[in-house]
């Protein structure tokens, strides 16, 4: 598995969660992107409002497969990456920065710390 950035936490389903300026950005890992191959479609079903840990917020499709996208914390969806919706290939190009998917205002900011560290995710 390629090394995952240590500045964020992960789910076993490959979504990363990165605290930034009071929000938590969510995207998918390089490992997941490489497994999916070329991403052809991103659907964020939930664009605003409350979301719970374990809840699906959308789907991602690639040449190979379709997968659900999961959120690892409770909070409110504050932003959706329109650039990724318009051109999902940017998730392939830059899954950790430009290819973020949604941003959440966490109910409890400490909840992110309970998710997998980069080391634990990489095992």
């Amino acid at each position: 598995m390629p090394a995952s950035p240590a500045d964020r936490r992960y789910l076993e389903t490959h979504e990363w969660h990165k605290p930034e300026a009071g929000l938590v950005a969510i995207g998918i890992s390089r490992f997941a992107v490489d497994e999916l191959t070329d991403i052809t479609f991103l659907d964020v079903k939930k664009k605003s409002g409350a979301i719970k840990a374990g809840e699906s917020f959308g789907e991602i499709e690639s040449v190979k497969a379709t997968s659900e996208l999961y959120c690892g914390i409770d909070g409110t969806i504050e932003a959706v990456n329109q650039a990724a919706l318009d051109n999902p290939a940017i998730i392939n190009e830059d899954p950790y920065e430009k290819g973020w998917l949604i941003k959440i205002k966490p109910t409890n900011p400490a909840q992110v710390e309970k998710l997998l560290t980069a080391d634990a995710y990489g095992k």
Binding site: T37, T40, F41, V63, K64, T66, N92
Partner: protein, 367 residues
């Protein structure tokens, strides 16, 4: 897992591997879409060594092949190839293959996943005919060079190859390297497929891929994987065994009547082929299903097995689908009831997408 003679070449070019019918094959090197566009616009090189290659010799070689394939082959000229199907007695498709006619023998190129099944079928089918079936899959290698710039590229080391007509081949000797080069392919582009001895593979690929300039990004031939091969053949409306063809599907229903010679036993020295009676019946009664091309609204990909509906009634199912990199919209092939008419919707698992029936192939190269 089996590896082809080009395994190290794939590793050196950063391949991501996948298990394809027991072969460790590159699914992609850089990106499926990038490799797809490289083939449509310039040229790509595919390792297709995993495909089975059977050399057929013996006094009854011709009769044997007439017996096991649906299409007439006795009238083939030397150094030509022909697409044909292998069927069971019920008319179900065991494989789709390419038959090569040499001066003194024949060669059958078959799908990797059907190689062992066909060997068994052929041994049973040969009965008392005097025929030797030599499986040369691992002693030879095979590459496909596909794309609009390929013939020009090859013309630099062979004047003869660019003059080949579609579905003909030549035997080309470069020093001690003997290559069979046919103007065939599975991408909808112009190009060739090359069969060569496995021991020569790494030397030959250097020769084939040699460029005028050293910049890999500007190369005429860049390696392309099975991912791009699948989206390319889907755009070209070409069947893939296990998707559009299998033992429950006959070639008539698959729209491949042009590759079935129902009267070949009437020829002088003609031979009845396995499945002929069943296919005659299907042709006379009309097939129950048909293969159609669909253009979907939106951007979502239809996957094999997804239901195709007219109104609220399921009339068939998807066999292949992709977001067409060339056309920019999702395309799919599907089997539907023969009487189905009008546009459809596809059940994408929860959501539905409207899908318009369009002629196959989805993409045709400019002549």
């Amino acid at each position: 897992m089996l590896r082809t003679s080009f395994y190290q070449f794939h590793v050196d070019h950063g391949a991501k591997f996948v298990d394809f019918n027991g072969w460790e094959m590159p699914i992609l090197y850089r990106s499926i879409h990038e490799e797809h566009h490289q083939v449509r616009n310039v040229g790509g090189l595919f390792d297709v060594s995993h495909m089975g290659r059977f050399k057929i010799t013996g006094r009854h070689a011709r009769r044997f092949i007439e017996r096991v394939v649906t299409r007439r082959i006795s009238d083939m000229k030397e150094l030509s190839c022909r697409y044909a199907l292998v069927c069971n007695e019920q008319g179900g498709t065991l494989d789709d293959i390419i038959v090569y006619r040499f001066a003194d023998h024949w060669l059958l190129v078959v799908n990797a996943g059907n190689r062992l099944k066909l060997l068994e079928h052929f041994q049973k089918a040969k009965g008392d005919l005097v025929v030797t079936i030599d499986d040369q899959t691992t002693s030879t290698a095979m590459v496909a060079l596909q794309g609009p710039k390929v013939m020009e590229h090859i013309g630099r080391f062979s004047k003869e190859v660019p003059t080949l007509k579609r579905y003909t081949f030549c035997i080309k000797n470069v020093l001690i390297l003997k290559m069979v080069i046919s103007r065939t392919g599975y991408t909808g582009e112009d190009g060739v497929e090359v069969i060569l001895p496995a021991a020569m593979a790494s030397m030959a690929i250097k020769l084939l891929i040699k460029e005028k300039s050293d910049d890999p990004a500007g190369a005429v031939l860049r390696p392309a994987g099975l991912g791009a091969r699948d989206t390319l053949r889907t755009e070209a409306g070409m069947p893939l065994y296990g998707h559009e063809l299998d033992e429950t599907i006959d070639p008539i229903s698959a729209g491949l009547s042009w590759a079935v010679s129902l009267d070949k036993d009437q020829d002088e020295n003609g031979e009845k082929f396995i499945g002929q009676e069943a296919l005659k019946k299907i042709a006379a009664e009309g097939p129950k299903v048909k293969l159609i091309g669909l253009k979907l609204d939106g951007k979502r990909t239809a996957r094999p097995g997804m239901p195709v509906l007219i109104g609220d009634r399921t009339v068939g199912k998807v066999t292949s689908g992709c977001l067409s990199p060339t056309l920019g919209y999702p395309i799919a092939m599907a089997y539907v009831e023969a009487s189905a008419a009008g546009d459809t919707t596809i059940d994408l698992g929860g959501q539905r997408a409207a899908a318009q029936v369009v002629p196959l192939p989805f993409y045709k190269r400019a002549k």
